[in-house]
Symmetry: C2
Subunit: 318 residues, 2 copies
């Protein structure tokens, strides 16, 4: 077999790299690459897929450029955001998956060495965690669970969100070793006095970035499936004006905290603490969440906001 002008790759990994360079940097066609590498074109296709899936090749869509679209600019203006990313609506595709992807890109864009990243929970946050990948490994990253662990729906529990995200980006993972909700506020106070938890809360207070979603309080909402509060307790919050939940805390239409007895039994970051975090990325969208998201943004809980176009327009159309 003749060597067609290139020394043959001696390791499998190498071949994937050569293919990636020849295709994406040199813009050769797959057939040309196949000839150069002495393999079939189908194999080149496989190499390129491998390169993409392993992150050897990463396609980045500038969040900077996207932040300059009309809607994103309007959202930034209206709610005083530092950054907004509005993805196109498709009408069909699974919105949570798509928002997760977008949120992952925003987070991946911003993360740097040494970051301590707080992570809330919910379907959207889990979706972000599931899809994130860094183009190169970063050293000294920490992911911290910012609310207690819930006993309800395990598919998007705080622990899962935290551990999935941390493993995807190669970060140290710190799970909060306490239930999200306790039966009395005295017990909560005693628990928080434990040295282990004190240490964890110190870490929570040192997060420089936090990722969270927005929950509504409707009949099919995540918060009602989460187990952090009974249906009656949630109803009580709603009676007191609550329209949204962020990281387990209820807020009214203007973004003000809605407190109560139940609130004082919860373990997790408080809204006043959240707002101290320099970089607060909120990912949320969907027709049913307009009111909840408006409340969140009006409350100034987010510095960066990721949504889709339909939601963005609804938020502006009020």
């Amino acid at each position: 077999m003749l060597d067609a002008g290139v020394t043959l790759p001696t390791e499998f990994d190498d071949a994937v790299n050569w293919a990636a360079w020849l295709y994406y940097a040199d813009e050769m066609t797959q057939s040309e690459i196949a000839k150069t590498l002495n393999v079939s074109r189908a194999t080149v296709v496989n190499y390129l897929q491998e390169a993409r899936s392993r992150g050897i090749v990463s396609i980045r869509i500038s969040t900077y450029a996207s932040g300059r679209t009309k809607i994103a600019r309007a959202l930034k203006e209206k709610f005083g955001l530092e950054g907004a990313l509005v993805i196109p609506s498709t009408g069909n595709g699974d919105l949570v998956r798509r928002l997760g992807d977008a949120g992952a890109r925003v987070l991946a864009d911003q993360v740097t060495t040494g970051d301590v990243i707080g992570v809330a929970w919910g379907r959207t946050v889990l979706s972000v965690a599931d899809q994130i990948s860094l183009p190169e490994p970063l050293s000294n990253l920490t992911v911290v669970q910012v609310s207690g662990s819930s006993t309800g729906e395990p598919d998007f529990s705080p622990e899962l969100c935290t551990s999935l995200l941390s493993s995807r980006i190669g970060a140290r993972c710190v799970n909060l070793l306490a239930p999200a909700i306790l039966s009395t506020k005295e017990l909560r106070a005693m628990l928080l006095d434990e040295p282990v938890l004190k240490k964890q809360f110190d870490l929570i207070h040192s997060t420089n970035r936090i990722l969270f979603g927005v929950g509504d309080v409707g009949p099919k909402s995540t918060v009602r499936a989460s187990g952090i509060a009974s249906q009656r307790e949630i109803d009580t919050y709603v009676e007191h004006g609550a329209v949204a939940v962020i990281i387990g805390r209820f807020i009214d239409a203007h973004g003000r905290a809605v407190g109560g007895e139940h609130d004082e039994r919860m373990v997790g970051i408080a809204l006043e603490e959240l707002i101290q975090t320099p970089n607060r990325i909120c990912v949320a969208g969907g027709a049913g969440k307009i009111e909840a998201i408006t409340a969140t943004l009006e409350g100034g809980y987010a510095t960066h906001f990721v949504t889709d176009m339909a939601t963005g327009e609804a938020l502006l159309g009020v």
Copy 2:
């Protein structure tokens, strides 16, 4: 005209963005996107090309992953490099262009806010400058010309390399306001005493990153076309063992500086100063430069090295 499930883009810029997201993030086909956006598929093709060329979409090939190929690892090992990037050889394509692209990717990967980037000159360096583009703008970048300006071949002069690179990455540009070579070393000393030049040399000494190529001393070499030295002066260097030129300075086969009277009349960063810079990116390749590159790497002048496979193998095969 019916709105096909998506609100129509109201600005041109927006359309390009939506297309980019739908194609690269959602992996929709161009036909689907065309339907969604109510334009022809050909227009979508144009949008996507626009998105790529404007850097809204950037395809990144992990230099981290490429550094793990056999040859790159061997080069790092042999010459004690921090990083090596070896691109595949094609036999046909224009090597300078391809190395320039690779070097640009390495530099773009490493540059961060606040950097002061020293830039040498030469065909390869110019090629890097010509092809670099940052995925997002970075603030407070400075590009410094590290050697005096030459009167010879203007196609790859120090000024051009510096100003092109700085404009491509949106950096402040500092050109060295002095000729590369003066007629006496006394004049050189006087000139360097000028406050303007003192200030510029201060900046040169504070560069934290430097980009340079390697010149050979053969009959058709860049240095002989550059005008920084006469053919006779170059011959004299060669007689004293010079096999390579980096940033206007001659070195022997082991990377040691080859001095001389001419050397003392040059304006530009010295080799001892070069080696103080924390991050030194060297881009070079080609069959005729093996000896010169070996000398450069043995001298420890580079921390990061970019080359092609054929050159890499030749460097290892010694």
